[in-house]
Symmetry: C2
């Protein structure tokens, strides 16, 4: 055991880092230079107790170590991106709606006990922001807002090169900026009109279903399995329904970004997550709202760009945070 | 002249600090312990050239020095809170809509040249936040959002004890969070539905005029000179129109604060400015929106409270920033 979970990372040049999603566990053995020496992806165990998650992470870590030990050296720390609120200092999962068995669980301590490596936990969207700053679109910047458009909408805020986690570790919930507070679409968070109900993959599907009756000629009527990808591909083919849905999504995203820009005046906004693949369908509408709504000075200076690390952002950022924590274990 | 405007402040124990408003210039000679040794208030000169402002500030500084020199010691720095965007590093007013003659003006250098003291400039709402942290409701906190409800709505964000100014000095424009982006009320900033068009003194008057036809019995029909104060006093007497206007104002303010809380997860939100005097008329509605809309963890932990420094917040914060800049002039 180690006295402080956030001071993980020995002087080793390898970290076992994982991005624990609600659906998939993505993990890698990452070098100090950002090189990915080994990677794996597997379904997240549908565990009712934290043990199931811990064992999956430990098995993945052992597999990573086995594949890299001979050629690349020893792993000496573990770092996990978790889909929820994390107490970074204590290494505790506070609340993880998609992996509820971890709520309140001391995951860092459990991993340290099993692996004998110091462990770091971080919120997944924060980790993705750190990953993009290290190896992606945020390289060379130190004031970054990262927006992750996935099943939900997450965010990470980096100011002066440091993640801003807030006093409870729950900052940067960009998906829960109110962008249409009186508009009536309820959000899973309990509020209504949050960015997440307009700019997530889930929202794309919902908005497509809602608008379908107004577009009788849309090819999306025949689509059995409606996903944000099928809507995106229909949009590429010029389907009016799909284009309208991505237009709306871009408008709401731009409204949220304008508020963010007026509030934080960041250098760069990095947009990632699976839905960011629809970039060419929403980019114009998003930018237009930013120009119309944000103050001219910060709107002109901010760069708004696509993320570059894809699904690697989370574990890369987790690895970076562990390297940055660099202090020899205190016992 | 000094090599860096933001390193003003010698080891002296007295600062001449001023809060330059669109209407009034408030100034004081402030001690290192926050004691106000001398204060003055005068109309802001309606100058077409920066000289008029510079001379008013210089005269006020000389007056302050004359009144304090014998008993309290020497003033050795000047610090000004400006109603607009400021380049803190260079001591330049970037844009000040209510004192437009200062746009682009190197005010710090001009004051240094006249007074032979190092000079600091800061945005007025940022200065007010620093003042509340030093001598007001923010004492003992280091993660503070300060919202100033005046003619407009301003803001200051303090993270880890430091003002977050953004990369262009234009951060913390809390009045320009979109709280009803589709609601249609245009804002002077060019956007629509900003917090400022619902939660400023100007907005109280506008909303009262708009709603008056629906409240034929309101005492505000006979009010010649409709101001946010007359609406407030009518509300205290139970006037239904006034109560409805402050209810709306509280709802919009609460919506904005909920977004702020989800984004920044601060320790404390301090609400100041003249309109904050209406606290008992809007507090309940504001809190209700925060509870309904913000994430439970940060909403429970944040303290939302009234400012304590009143009109002194701006110059107190300006003084504090000059003391904090404490380095001997480099030439």
């Amino acid at each position: 055991m180690f006295s402080s979970h956030n001071k993980s990372g020995s002087k080793s040049d390898l970290i076992f880092a994982a991005d624990l999603g609600g659906t998939h566990l993505r993990a890698a053995v990452v070098g100090r230079d950002g090189k990915i020496h080994y990677r794996l992806k597997q379904p997240t165990p549908q565990a009712e107790k934290p043990d199931g998650i811990v064992h999956a992470l430990v098995d993945a870590a052992h597999e990573g170590a086995r594949h890299t030990a001979a050629r690349d050296g020893q792993i000496s720390a573990v770092s996990i991106a978790v889909p929820g609120t994390v107490n970074f200092e204590d290494g505790v999962v506070v609340k993880a709606p998609n992996v509820p068995c971890l709520d309140g669980f001391r995951l860092a301590a459990a991993l340290e006990s099993e692996l004998k490596w110091p462990a770091t936990l971080e919120n997944d969207a924060n980790a993705a922001a750190a990953g993009e700053m290290w190896q992606g679109a945020g390289r060379g910047y130190s004031n970054i807002v990262c927006v992750t458009l996935g099943t939900g909408v997450g965010g990470g805020i980096i100011l002066d090169g440091k993640l801003w986690r807030g006093v409870d570790g729950s900052a940067a919930e960009i998906g829960h900026l109110g962008v249409d507070p009186f508009g009536g679409v309820p959000c899973a968070c309990g509020s209504r009109g949050c960015l997440e109900v307009y700019a997530s993959a889930t929202a794309i599907v919902r908005m497509t279903r809602e608008a379908r009756p107004r577009y009788p000629d849309s090819i999306l009527h025949t689509s059995e399995d409606l996903t944000s990808e099928t809507v995106y591909h229909a949009g590429l083919e010029g389907d009016e329904l799909a284009l309208e849905v991505f237009r709306r999504m871009g408008v709401y995203l731009g409204i949220g970004l304008a508020s963010l820009i007026n509030l934080l005046n960041p250098e760069i906004i990095v947009i990632g997550g699976g839905l960011s693949n629809g970039w060419e369908l929403f980019e114009h509408h998003m930018h237009q709202q930013v120009i119309e709504r944000a103050f001219p000075l910060p709107a002109r200076s901010v760069k708004i760009t696509r993320a570059e690390c894809g699904d690697d952002a989370g574990f890369l950022g987790a690895a970076r945070l562990a390297f940055a924590g660099q202090q020899a274990p205190t016992n």
